[in-house]
Subunit: 244 residues, 2 copies
């Protein structure tokens, strides 16, 4: 029982569930169970019949698909407070991507059937899902734009800026959230391209890279360089929206 | 009155509205008006307050955003039966992109307020919107994947394959839907890159290009080449899903 009320509390922190009534959240969490997932564990594979959606309490999860010729396309890398697998409800009940643990993780698994039933009967949840999907849609549009308009160093700069509190003034220290090989593939680059691009970014902006730590004198060092090839303004509006 | 009932009939052909009751469709169409739009007309600009969503009866419309340094990123190019501007409901009431007519078009403009009210009160419509957005989300994920995993000739081949009836056997003739400059920017390429990539695609696959017409001996000529760098199977599942 304690565990269930903790799960309800945790879910309430996720924007899509935050406005729901307690009883609705309890119905969604009724059959939730915790999952300890070790690095490299494959949670499910694209096309698998989908029974659960997942919420991350800690750790990192990689969503990806494999091409016929054996390359891996990373869709996203998620952490605490992120949810995945939930759109399978609208996908003939099959997962549209594969999911693998990239850092030891604590994960909540919840039955899709319970979520589906709640969405079908609870207009408030259906609308919250729509809002959340519209926001995600805009982020994806921006990702498509960036893959075309930004060069590789600008794309790294953009990724770094999105890790900062964007209203900071003065010196800023950024810690890379996961290793550089994973980061390269998250950004759609080969590791060699990533290395060259990071060197170029250092030259162009004067940022200092020490292992997984990056130091800037101020945010302008990066925004002048990266945001020129973006159609949004800095600070990024979608980050402001999802944290509010 | 005739015009309104025609509008209702037209909207019923769009998947997201197809399951709605007649009275619900009539409420959405109550204040619809026709719009004759000539080539190069700008319907709205990204960030404009959003009052209407639009449905295309004929012609072509380009959705795009401009980066700070003045480049144009094409989000999509739409035609008959496509809808746009509707997600502004979930975007603080501002258009998330700009829209321009690229070929003389007949367009229906419908007030977002009426759509919003219907979504909020009609669970069936909210669920249909969710299904439609989930499908779009998967297409976008695939677009992101393609921009990373496919080289330029493969991307052109993929675009061409999506214009065919994918279960055809034997010789196939494809007509490009709009001019090559627009097609290049739809695929996120500079015009020169597009030309070189098209030449390379011809060499690699033996397809014949005559102006805006492209001839193949059979679909395998292109699928063997393009679909190797894709995580989906051919025929493309999303096309099958949206035409059903």
């Amino acid at each position: 029982m304690l565990s269930r009320s903790k799960t309800v509390d945790f879910l309430r922190e996720i924007p899509v569930f935050s406005g729901l009534e307690q009883t609705a959240l309890e119905r969604i969490c009724m059959q939730a169970h915790d999952l300890d997932a070790v690095k490299a564990k494959l949670l499910f594979v694209s096309g698998d019949p989908a029974e659960f959606f997942y919420v991350i309490k800690s750790g990192w999860v990689k969503l990806f698909r494999e091409t016929l010729d054996g390359n891996v396309a990373i869709i996203d890398i998620l952490t605490t407070g992120h949810m995945f697998g939930e759109t399978s409800i609208f996908e003939d009940g099959a997962y549209p991507y594969s999911a693998e643990i990239v850092e030891d993780a604590a994960i909540i698994a919840l039955p899709l059937a319970d979520l589906k039933q709640e969405i079908e009967n609870n207009q408030q949840l259906a609308l919250a899902m729509l809002t959340s999907m519209a926001r995600y849609r805009k982020q994806q549009e921006q990702e498509i734009e960036h893959r075309t308009m930004q060069n590789a160093p600008q794309r790294i700069g953009c990724f770094l800026l999105r890790l900062t509190r964007q209203n900071e003034t003065g010196p800023v220290t950024i810690h890379l959230p996961y290793d550089k090989t994973l980061l390269a593939s998250r950004l759609g680059m080969q590791p060699e391209t990533f290395s060259r691009a990071l060197s170029k970014l250092k030259e162009a902006t004067g940022i200092r890279v020490k292992g997984a730590t990056i130091e800037l004198d101020n945010l302008e060092q990066l925004t002048n360089y990266s945001c020129a090839a973006c159609s949004s303004e800095f600070p990024c509006k979608d980050i402001a929206a999802s944290s509010s």
